[in-house]
Symmetry: C2
Subunit: 229 residues, 2 copies
DNA sequence: GACAAGCAGATTGTCGACAATCTAACAAGA
DNA sequence: TCTTGTTAGATTGTCGACAATCTGCTTGTC
Protein backbone atom coordinates (compact mmCIF):
# COMPACT_ATOMS: atom_id res chain seq x y z
CA UNK A 1 0.00 0.00 0.00
CA UNK A 2 1.38 3.38 -1.00
CA UNK A 3 1.73 5.87 1.85
CA UNK A 4 -0.30 8.58 0.15
CA UNK A 5 -2.61 10.77 2.22
CA UNK A 6 -5.64 12.03 0.40
CA UNK A 7 -7.17 15.22 1.72
CA UNK A 8 -10.95 15.44 1.83
CA UNK A 9 -12.40 16.54 -1.48
CA UNK A 10 -13.90 20.00 -1.68
CA UNK A 11 -17.51 20.65 -0.76
CA UNK A 12 -19.34 20.96 -4.02
CA UNK A 13 -22.57 22.52 -2.90
CA UNK A 14 -23.67 25.82 -4.34
CA UNK A 15 -24.11 27.01 -0.78
CA UNK A 16 -20.43 26.59 0.03
CA UNK A 17 -19.39 28.46 -3.09
CA UNK A 18 -21.80 31.27 -2.36
CA UNK A 19 -20.44 31.58 1.17
CA UNK A 20 -16.92 31.86 -0.19
CA UNK A 21 -17.92 34.42 -2.81
CA UNK A 22 -19.86 36.60 -0.40
CA UNK A 23 -17.21 36.40 2.31
CA UNK A 24 -14.55 37.48 -0.10
CA UNK A 25 -16.68 40.37 -1.37
CA UNK A 26 -17.24 41.57 2.17
CA UNK A 27 -13.72 41.11 3.45
CA UNK A 28 -12.18 42.92 0.50
CA UNK A 29 -14.60 45.79 0.93
CA UNK A 30 -16.40 45.28 -2.38
CA UNK A 31 -19.53 45.13 -0.30
CA UNK A 32 -19.40 48.14 1.96
CA UNK A 33 -20.43 48.25 5.64
CA UNK A 34 -24.10 48.92 6.11
CA UNK A 35 -24.93 47.90 2.58
CA UNK A 36 -28.06 45.84 2.09
CA UNK A 37 -27.90 42.50 0.32
CA UNK A 38 -30.85 42.11 -2.02
CA UNK A 39 -31.57 38.40 -2.25
CA UNK A 40 -33.31 38.44 -5.62
CA UNK A 41 -30.67 40.56 -7.29
CA UNK A 42 -27.74 38.55 -5.96
CA UNK A 43 -29.35 35.20 -6.71
CA UNK A 44 -29.96 36.29 -10.30
CA UNK A 45 -26.40 37.51 -10.67
CA UNK A 46 -25.03 34.24 -9.34
CA UNK A 47 -27.59 32.21 -11.31
CA UNK A 48 -28.79 30.30 -8.25
CA UNK A 49 -32.08 30.22 -6.46
CA UNK A 50 -32.66 32.09 -3.25
CA UNK A 51 -32.65 28.96 -1.05
CA UNK A 52 -28.88 28.26 -1.05
CA UNK A 53 -28.18 31.99 -1.04
CA UNK A 54 -30.27 32.50 2.06
CA UNK A 55 -28.61 29.56 3.79
CA UNK A 56 -25.23 31.02 2.94
CA UNK A 57 -26.27 34.36 4.35
CA UNK A 58 -27.40 32.73 7.60
CA UNK A 59 -23.91 31.29 7.94
CA UNK A 60 -22.29 34.67 7.45
CA UNK A 61 -24.66 36.24 9.94
CA UNK A 62 -23.48 33.74 12.55
CA UNK A 63 -19.93 34.36 11.43
CA UNK A 64 -20.46 37.94 12.50
CA UNK A 65 -19.87 39.84 9.27
CA UNK A 66 -23.53 40.15 8.27
CA UNK A 67 -26.49 41.19 10.36
CA UNK A 68 -30.09 40.34 9.71
CA UNK A 69 -33.34 42.09 10.59
CA UNK A 70 -36.48 39.99 9.97
CA UNK A 71 -38.55 41.18 7.03
CA UNK A 72 -36.20 44.14 6.57
CA UNK A 73 -33.07 42.60 5.11
CA UNK A 74 -29.54 41.41 5.66
CA UNK A 75 -26.74 43.96 5.85
CA UNK A 76 -22.97 44.08 6.00
CA UNK A 77 -22.03 44.94 9.59
CA UNK A 78 -21.25 48.54 10.40
CA UNK A 79 -17.78 49.23 11.70
CA UNK A 80 -17.29 51.52 14.67
CA UNK A 81 -14.10 52.62 16.40
CA UNK A 82 -15.19 50.67 19.45
CA UNK A 83 -15.55 47.47 17.45
CA UNK A 84 -11.98 47.79 16.29
CA UNK A 85 -10.71 48.53 19.79
CA UNK A 86 -12.65 45.59 21.19
CA UNK A 87 -11.42 43.19 18.55
CA UNK A 88 -7.83 44.24 19.06
CA UNK A 89 -7.78 44.09 22.81
CA UNK A 90 -9.19 40.59 22.68
CA UNK A 91 -6.69 39.70 20.00
CA UNK A 92 -3.85 40.71 22.28
CA UNK A 93 -5.04 38.40 25.02
CA UNK A 94 -5.51 35.53 22.59
CA UNK A 95 -2.08 36.13 21.06
CA UNK A 96 -0.37 35.79 24.41
CA UNK A 97 -2.24 32.57 25.08
CA UNK A 98 -1.53 31.16 21.63
CA UNK A 99 2.18 31.87 21.90
CA UNK A 100 2.31 30.25 25.32
CA UNK A 101 0.65 27.10 24.02
CA UNK A 102 2.57 26.99 20.77
CA UNK A 103 5.96 27.54 22.37
CA UNK A 104 6.70 23.97 23.48
CA UNK A 105 5.29 22.59 20.22
CA UNK A 106 7.67 24.41 17.92
CA UNK A 107 9.74 22.16 15.69
CA UNK A 108 11.37 22.25 12.27
CA UNK A 109 8.07 21.98 10.45
CA UNK A 110 6.85 24.99 12.39
CA UNK A 111 9.88 27.07 11.47
CA UNK A 112 9.61 26.04 7.82
CA UNK A 113 5.96 27.01 7.68
CA UNK A 114 6.78 30.27 9.43
CA UNK A 115 9.31 31.12 6.73
CA UNK A 116 6.97 30.06 3.97
CA UNK A 117 4.21 32.35 5.17
CA UNK A 118 6.60 35.17 5.82
CA UNK A 119 7.83 34.83 2.26
CA UNK A 120 4.25 35.01 0.99
CA UNK A 121 3.74 38.31 2.78
CA UNK A 122 6.93 39.74 1.34
CA UNK A 123 5.94 38.65 -2.13
CA UNK A 124 2.49 40.25 -1.88
CA UNK A 125 4.11 43.39 -0.55
CA UNK A 126 6.53 43.54 -3.48
CA UNK A 127 3.65 42.99 -5.89
CA UNK A 128 1.76 45.89 -4.29
CA UNK A 129 -1.26 43.60 -3.94
CA UNK A 130 -2.88 45.08 -0.84
CA UNK A 131 -5.67 42.56 -0.57
CA UNK A 132 -3.28 39.66 -0.74
CA UNK A 133 -0.91 41.41 1.62
CA UNK A 134 -3.59 41.58 4.30
CA UNK A 135 -4.55 37.97 3.69
CA UNK A 136 -1.02 36.64 3.91
CA UNK A 137 -0.14 38.74 6.95
CA UNK A 138 -3.13 37.32 8.80
CA UNK A 139 -2.14 33.82 7.73
CA UNK A 140 1.35 34.38 9.06
CA UNK A 141 -0.13 35.61 12.26
CA UNK A 142 -2.51 32.65 12.41
CA UNK A 143 0.26 30.09 12.49
CA UNK A 144 0.61 30.30 16.26
CA UNK A 145 -3.08 29.52 16.55
CA UNK A 146 -2.83 26.49 14.31
CA UNK A 147 0.05 25.16 16.37
CA UNK A 148 -1.45 25.89 19.77
CA UNK A 149 -3.33 22.58 19.57
CA UNK A 150 -6.59 24.02 20.86
CA UNK A 151 -9.51 23.73 18.47
CA UNK A 152 -11.72 26.19 20.33
CA UNK A 153 -8.98 28.78 20.36
CA UNK A 154 -8.39 28.30 16.65
CA UNK A 155 -12.08 28.70 15.90
CA UNK A 156 -12.23 31.86 17.96
CA UNK A 157 -9.24 33.28 16.16
CA UNK A 158 -10.72 32.50 12.77
CA UNK A 159 -13.90 34.35 13.66
CA UNK A 160 -11.85 37.29 14.84
CA UNK A 161 -9.77 37.16 11.69
CA UNK A 162 -12.79 37.82 9.51
CA UNK A 163 -13.33 41.09 11.24
CA UNK A 164 -9.70 42.07 11.36
CA UNK A 165 -9.38 41.41 7.65
CA UNK A 166 -12.43 43.55 7.00
CA UNK A 167 -11.12 46.37 9.14
CA UNK A 168 -7.76 46.36 7.43
CA UNK A 169 -9.32 46.22 3.99
CA UNK A 170 -11.51 49.21 4.77
CA UNK A 171 -8.53 51.04 6.12
CA UNK A 172 -6.43 50.34 3.08
CA UNK A 173 -9.28 51.30 0.82
CA UNK A 174 -9.81 54.59 2.60
CA UNK A 175 -6.30 55.85 2.23
CA UNK A 176 -5.27 55.82 -1.36
CA UNK A 177 -1.58 55.83 -0.55
CA UNK A 178 0.57 52.97 -1.71
CA UNK A 179 1.24 50.13 0.70
CA UNK A 180 4.19 50.45 3.08
CA UNK A 181 6.97 48.61 1.37
CA UNK A 182 9.08 47.74 4.40
CA UNK A 183 8.67 44.46 6.13
CA UNK A 184 7.27 44.80 9.62
CA UNK A 185 7.23 41.08 10.38
CA UNK A 186 10.97 40.45 10.46
CA UNK A 187 11.30 40.86 14.22
CA UNK A 188 8.15 38.88 14.92
CA UNK A 189 9.39 35.90 12.96
CA UNK A 190 12.83 36.10 14.54
CA UNK A 191 11.38 36.15 18.05
CA UNK A 192 9.16 33.16 17.34
CA UNK A 193 12.30 31.29 16.34
CA UNK A 194 14.17 32.41 19.44
CA UNK A 195 14.16 31.18 23.00
CA UNK A 196 12.58 34.05 24.91
CA UNK A 197 8.85 33.43 25.03
CA UNK A 198 8.08 36.52 27.09
CA UNK A 199 9.85 38.69 24.53
CA UNK A 200 7.78 37.16 21.74
CA UNK A 201 4.57 37.81 23.64
CA UNK A 202 5.59 41.37 24.38
CA UNK A 203 6.46 42.06 20.77
CA UNK A 204 3.23 40.57 19.48
CA UNK A 205 1.39 43.03 21.66
CA UNK A 206 3.51 46.00 20.70
CA UNK A 207 3.61 45.21 17.01
CA UNK A 208 -0.13 45.04 16.88
CA UNK A 209 -0.37 48.32 18.69
CA UNK A 210 1.59 49.88 15.87
CA UNK A 211 -0.86 49.08 13.10
CA UNK A 212 -3.64 49.63 15.55
CA UNK A 213 -2.97 53.32 15.88
CA UNK A 214 -3.47 53.87 12.19
CA UNK A 215 -6.57 51.73 12.05
CA UNK A 216 -8.06 53.50 15.02
CA UNK A 217 -7.52 56.90 13.44
CA UNK A 218 -9.42 55.65 10.43
CA UNK A 219 -12.20 54.30 12.62
CA UNK A 220 -12.56 57.62 14.40
CA UNK A 221 -12.99 59.20 11.01
CA UNK A 222 -15.82 56.78 10.34
CA UNK A 223 -17.44 57.74 13.62
CA UNK A 224 -17.34 61.42 12.82
CA UNK A 225 -18.73 60.88 9.38
CA UNK A 226 -21.56 58.77 10.76
CA UNK A 227 -22.52 61.29 13.42
CA UNK A 228 -23.25 63.87 10.75
CA UNK A 229 -26.26 61.91 9.54
CA UNK B 1 -42.99 62.18 26.94
CA UNK B 2 -43.00 59.30 29.38
CA UNK B 3 -39.57 57.82 30.14
CA UNK B 4 -40.51 54.28 29.19
CA UNK B 5 -37.97 52.00 27.54
CA UNK B 6 -39.48 49.48 25.18
CA UNK B 7 -37.41 46.43 24.47
CA UNK B 8 -37.35 45.14 20.90
CA UNK B 9 -40.24 42.82 20.18
CA UNK B 10 -39.47 39.18 19.64
CA UNK B 11 -38.47 37.89 16.23
CA UNK B 12 -41.56 36.26 14.87
CA UNK B 13 -40.03 34.16 12.16
CA UNK B 14 -40.38 30.42 12.25
CA UNK B 15 -36.65 30.22 11.76
CA UNK B 16 -35.91 31.98 15.05
CA UNK B 17 -38.26 29.71 16.95
CA UNK B 18 -36.78 26.62 15.36
CA UNK B 19 -33.28 27.76 16.33
CA UNK B 20 -34.40 28.21 19.93
CA UNK B 21 -36.12 24.83 20.03
CA UNK B 22 -33.20 22.95 18.51
CA UNK B 23 -30.62 24.73 20.64
CA UNK B 24 -32.49 23.89 23.79
CA UNK B 25 -32.86 20.25 22.73
CA UNK B 26 -29.14 20.01 22.11
CA UNK B 27 -27.95 21.87 25.18
CA UNK B 28 -30.15 19.87 27.52
CA UNK B 29 -28.93 16.64 25.98
CA UNK B 30 -32.28 15.58 24.52
CA UNK B 31 -30.45 15.35 21.26
CA UNK B 32 -27.35 13.31 21.93
CA UNK B 33 -23.86 13.95 20.55
CA UNK B 34 -23.31 12.34 17.18
CA UNK B 35 -27.01 12.00 16.53
CA UNK B 36 -28.19 12.77 13.03
CA UNK B 37 -30.91 15.33 12.44
CA UNK B 38 -33.31 14.08 9.81
CA UNK B 39 -34.73 17.15 8.08
CA UNK B 40 -37.96 15.59 6.85
CA UNK B 41 -38.82 14.02 10.16
CA UNK B 42 -38.10 17.14 12.22
CA UNK B 43 -39.90 19.45 9.83
CA UNK B 44 -42.97 17.23 9.98
CA UNK B 45 -42.85 17.11 13.76
CA UNK B 46 -42.57 20.89 13.97
CA UNK B 47 -45.14 21.40 11.20
CA UNK B 48 -42.87 23.63 9.16
CA UNK B 49 -41.29 23.20 5.77
CA UNK B 50 -37.68 22.24 5.37
CA UNK B 51 -36.54 25.72 4.24
CA UNK B 52 -36.68 27.52 7.61
CA UNK B 53 -35.49 24.37 9.35
CA UNK B 54 -32.43 24.15 7.13
CA UNK B 55 -31.66 27.82 7.65
CA UNK B 56 -31.92 27.30 11.39
CA UNK B 57 -29.56 24.35 11.19
CA UNK B 58 -27.03 26.43 9.25
CA UNK B 59 -27.05 28.91 12.11
CA UNK B 60 -26.42 26.22 14.69
CA UNK B 61 -23.62 24.78 12.60
CA UNK B 62 -21.89 28.16 12.69
CA UNK B 63 -22.67 28.38 16.38
CA UNK B 64 -20.55 25.28 16.76
CA UNK B 65 -23.01 22.80 18.25
CA UNK B 66 -23.96 21.11 14.98
CA UNK B 67 -21.74 19.86 12.21
CA UNK B 68 -22.72 19.33 8.61
CA UNK B 69 -21.44 17.00 5.92
CA UNK B 70 -22.76 17.74 2.42
CA UNK B 71 -25.23 15.15 1.14
CA UNK B 72 -24.68 13.09 4.28
CA UNK B 73 -26.44 15.02 6.99
CA UNK B 74 -26.22 17.36 9.94
CA UNK B 75 -25.18 15.96 13.30
CA UNK B 76 -24.89 17.06 16.90
CA UNK B 77 -21.19 17.60 17.60
CA UNK B 78 -19.26 14.80 19.25
CA UNK B 79 -17.70 15.60 22.58
CA UNK B 80 -14.15 14.50 23.32
CA UNK B 81 -12.05 14.99 26.42
CA UNK B 82 -9.79 17.29 24.43
CA UNK B 83 -12.70 19.51 23.45
CA UNK B 84 -13.57 20.00 27.08
CA UNK B 85 -9.99 20.71 28.04
CA UNK B 86 -9.62 23.17 25.18
CA UNK B 87 -12.84 24.99 26.01
CA UNK B 88 -11.88 25.28 29.64
CA UNK B 89 -8.37 26.49 29.16
CA UNK B 90 -9.62 29.19 26.84
CA UNK B 91 -12.35 30.02 29.30
CA UNK B 92 -9.76 30.63 32.00
CA UNK B 93 -7.92 33.14 29.85
CA UNK B 94 -11.13 34.91 28.91
CA UNK B 95 -12.26 35.00 32.53
CA UNK B 96 -9.11 36.77 33.62
CA UNK B 97 -9.54 39.30 30.85
CA UNK B 98 -13.23 39.83 31.57
CA UNK B 99 -12.60 40.40 35.28
CA UNK B 100 -9.85 42.87 34.48
CA UNK B 101 -12.13 44.85 32.21
CA UNK B 102 -15.18 44.64 34.41
CA UNK B 103 -13.35 45.64 37.58
CA UNK B 104 -13.37 49.44 37.14
CA UNK B 105 -16.96 49.31 35.81
CA UNK B 106 -18.49 47.78 38.90
CA UNK B 107 -21.23 49.83 40.53
CA UNK B 108 -24.37 49.27 42.56
CA UNK B 109 -26.31 47.95 39.59
CA UNK B 110 -23.57 45.40 39.01
CA UNK B 111 -23.69 44.20 42.60
CA UNK B 112 -27.49 44.02 42.55
CA UNK B 113 -27.48 41.98 39.37
CA UNK B 114 -24.77 39.76 40.83
CA UNK B 115 -26.96 39.01 43.83
CA UNK B 116 -30.02 38.47 41.67
CA UNK B 117 -28.28 35.87 39.53
CA UNK B 118 -26.69 34.22 42.51
CA UNK B 119 -30.12 33.92 44.06
CA UNK B 120 -31.42 32.31 40.87
CA UNK B 121 -28.72 29.64 41.07
CA UNK B 122 -29.52 28.90 44.71
CA UNK B 123 -33.20 28.62 43.90
CA UNK B 124 -32.61 26.19 41.04
CA UNK B 125 -30.31 24.20 43.31
CA UNK B 126 -32.95 23.98 46.04
CA UNK B 127 -35.53 22.92 43.46
CA UNK B 128 -33.19 20.15 42.26
CA UNK B 129 -33.69 21.41 38.71
CA UNK B 130 -30.37 20.42 37.18
CA UNK B 131 -30.99 21.93 33.76
CA UNK B 132 -31.95 25.26 35.24
CA UNK B 133 -29.05 25.06 37.67
CA UNK B 134 -26.58 24.85 34.83
CA UNK B 135 -28.32 27.65 32.98
CA UNK B 136 -28.37 30.01 35.94
CA UNK B 137 -24.80 29.21 36.97
CA UNK B 138 -23.60 30.11 33.48
CA UNK B 139 -25.65 33.29 33.56
CA UNK B 140 -24.07 34.23 36.87
CA UNK B 141 -20.70 33.56 35.39
CA UNK B 142 -21.56 35.55 32.28
CA UNK B 143 -22.17 38.77 34.18
CA UNK B 144 -18.52 39.76 34.09
CA UNK B 145 -18.63 39.40 30.33
CA UNK B 146 -21.68 41.58 29.98
CA UNK B 147 -20.02 44.29 32.07
CA UNK B 148 -16.63 44.11 30.42
CA UNK B 149 -17.91 46.47 27.71
CA UNK B 150 -16.36 44.52 24.87
CA UNK B 151 -18.83 43.22 22.32
CA UNK B 152 -16.41 40.83 20.67
CA UNK B 153 -15.45 39.32 24.01
CA UNK B 154 -19.12 38.90 24.91
CA UNK B 155 -19.85 37.18 21.62
CA UNK B 156 -16.92 34.85 22.09
CA UNK B 157 -18.07 33.97 25.58
CA UNK B 158 -21.59 33.27 24.41
CA UNK B 159 -20.31 30.86 21.79
CA UNK B 160 -18.19 29.16 24.39
CA UNK B 161 -21.15 29.02 26.77
CA UNK B 162 -23.15 26.90 24.36
CA UNK B 163 -20.52 24.24 24.55
CA UNK B 164 -19.96 24.49 28.26
CA UNK B 165 -23.68 24.14 28.86
CA UNK B 166 -23.75 21.08 26.64
CA UNK B 167 -20.79 19.52 28.41
CA UNK B 168 -22.30 20.10 31.83
CA UNK B 169 -25.67 18.76 30.75
CA UNK B 170 -24.08 15.59 29.41
CA UNK B 171 -22.11 15.22 32.59
CA UNK B 172 -25.15 15.66 34.79
CA UNK B 173 -27.11 13.28 32.64
CA UNK B 174 -24.43 10.62 32.84
CA UNK B 175 -24.23 10.48 36.59
CA UNK B 176 -27.62 9.79 38.03
CA UNK B 177 -26.70 11.14 41.43
CA UNK B 178 -28.60 14.10 42.81
CA UNK B 179 -27.16 17.56 42.31
CA UNK B 180 -24.67 18.86 44.87
CA UNK B 181 -26.77 20.89 47.23
CA UNK B 182 -24.08 23.19 48.60
CA UNK B 183 -23.44 26.53 47.08
CA UNK B 184 -20.09 26.78 45.36
CA UNK B 185 -20.52 30.34 44.17
CA UNK B 186 -20.49 32.11 47.55
CA UNK B 187 -16.77 32.90 47.47
CA UNK B 188 -16.84 33.91 43.83
CA UNK B 189 -19.58 36.46 44.42
CA UNK B 190 -17.88 37.79 47.55
CA UNK B 191 -14.58 38.28 45.73
CA UNK B 192 -16.26 40.12 42.86
CA UNK B 193 -17.67 42.51 45.43
CA UNK B 194 -14.30 42.94 47.15
CA UNK B 195 -11.29 45.06 46.32
CA UNK B 196 -8.67 42.49 45.37
CA UNK B 197 -8.88 41.95 41.63
CA UNK B 198 -6.00 39.47 41.50
CA UNK B 199 -7.68 37.33 44.14
CA UNK B 200 -10.90 37.30 42.12
CA UNK B 201 -9.02 36.26 39.00
CA UNK B 202 -7.18 33.56 40.88
CA UNK B 203 -10.36 32.17 42.38
CA UNK B 204 -12.17 32.15 39.06
CA UNK B 205 -9.41 29.96 37.72
CA UNK B 206 -9.32 27.64 40.71
CA UNK B 207 -13.05 27.35 41.06
CA UNK B 208 -13.41 26.33 37.49
CA UNK B 209 -10.69 23.78 37.93
CA UNK B 210 -12.79 22.20 40.61
CA UNK B 211 -15.79 21.37 38.44
CA UNK B 212 -13.40 20.70 35.64
CA UNK B 213 -11.92 17.64 37.29
CA UNK B 214 -15.28 15.95 37.43
CA UNK B 215 -16.19 16.89 33.91
CA UNK B 216 -12.88 15.66 32.61
CA UNK B 217 -13.31 12.30 34.29
CA UNK B 218 -16.62 11.99 32.49
CA UNK B 219 -15.05 12.98 29.20
CA UNK B 220 -12.33 10.36 29.57
CA UNK B 221 -15.10 7.85 30.04
CA UNK B 222 -16.55 8.95 26.75
CA UNK B 223 -13.20 8.53 25.07
CA UNK B 224 -12.77 5.01 26.32
CA UNK B 225 -16.27 4.06 25.27
CA UNK B 226 -15.70 5.49 21.82
CA UNK B 227 -12.41 3.68 21.31
CA UNK B 228 -14.14 0.34 21.66
CA UNK B 229 -15.98 0.88 18.40
C1' DG C 1 -51.03 72.55 4.76
C1' DA C 2 -51.08 68.63 8.14
C1' DC C 3 -52.24 64.18 9.01
C1' DA C 4 -54.22 59.58 8.90
C1' DA C 5 -55.98 55.71 5.95
C1' DG C 6 -55.26 52.94 2.41
C1' DC C 7 -53.27 51.25 -1.59
C1' DA C 8 -49.38 49.56 -4.76
C1' DG C 9 -44.67 47.79 -5.31
C1' DA C 10 -40.86 45.60 -3.66
C1' DT C 11 -38.67 42.38 -0.56
C1' DT C 12 -38.36 38.78 2.74
C1' DG C 13 -40.28 34.36 4.70
C1' DT C 14 -42.26 29.91 3.68
C1' DC C 15 -43.91 26.12 1.04
C1' DG C 16 -44.19 21.88 -1.90
C1' DA C 17 -41.94 19.52 -5.66
C1' DC C 18 -38.00 18.02 -8.27
C1' DA C 19 -32.93 16.96 -8.98
C1' DA C 20 -28.53 15.31 -7.22
C1' DT C 21 -26.28 12.42 -4.21
C1' DC C 22 -25.45 8.89 -0.88
C1' DT C 23 -26.17 4.21 1.31
C1' DA C 24 -26.99 -0.38 1.52
C1' DA C 25 -28.55 -4.50 -0.37
C1' DC C 26 -28.09 -7.63 -4.03
C1' DA C 27 -26.18 -9.90 -8.18
C1' DA C 28 -22.30 -11.25 -11.21
C1' DG C 29 -17.79 -12.52 -12.01
C1' DA C 30 -12.91 -13.79 -10.78
C1' DT D 1 -15.00 -15.88 -0.70
C1' DC D 2 -13.90 -11.59 -2.10
C1' DT D 3 -14.43 -7.92 -5.15
C1' DT D 4 -16.95 -5.11 -8.34
C1' DG D 5 -21.13 -3.37 -10.77
C1' DT D 6 -26.02 -2.35 -10.36
C1' DT D 7 -30.10 -0.81 -8.52
C1' DA D 8 -33.73 0.84 -5.32
C1' DG D 9 -34.70 3.61 -1.49
C1' DA D 10 -33.90 7.33 1.43
C1' DT D 11 -32.00 11.85 2.26
C1' DT D 12 -30.03 16.17 1.17
C1' DG D 13 -29.61 20.14 -2.17
C1' DT D 14 -32.00 23.27 -5.19
C1' DC D 15 -35.75 25.43 -7.54
C1' DG D 16 -39.86 28.28 -8.67
C1' DA D 17 -44.12 30.01 -6.78
C1' DC D 18 -46.94 31.87 -3.15
C1' DA D 19 -47.81 34.25 1.42
C1' DA D 20 -46.55 37.71 4.86
C1' DT D 21 -44.54 41.91 5.78
C1' DC D 22 -42.53 46.38 5.07
C1' DT D 23 -42.04 51.00 2.68
C1' DG D 24 -43.34 54.90 0.35
C1' DC D 25 -46.76 57.17 -2.17
C1' DT D 26 -51.30 58.70 -2.96
C1' DT D 27 -55.67 60.12 -1.54
C1' DG D 28 -59.04 62.11 1.15
C1' DT D 29 -60.41 64.70 5.12
C1' DC D 30 -60.02 68.34 8.48
Amino acid sequence: MAKLDFSPIADTTRRAEIVALLRRAILTGQLEPGQKLNELRISEQMRVSRAPLREAMRELVQEGILTSIPYAGTFVIEVTAKDIIDAYSLNQVLDEFAIERTWPQRDQRFFDELDRRHEAVKQATRALDTTRQIETALQLHGLIYEWADNSVLLETWQRLTSRLQMYFALHQRARNEPVPAEDVHETYVALLKGSDMRAAQRHAREHIDLDFEELLAYARGLEKRASKN
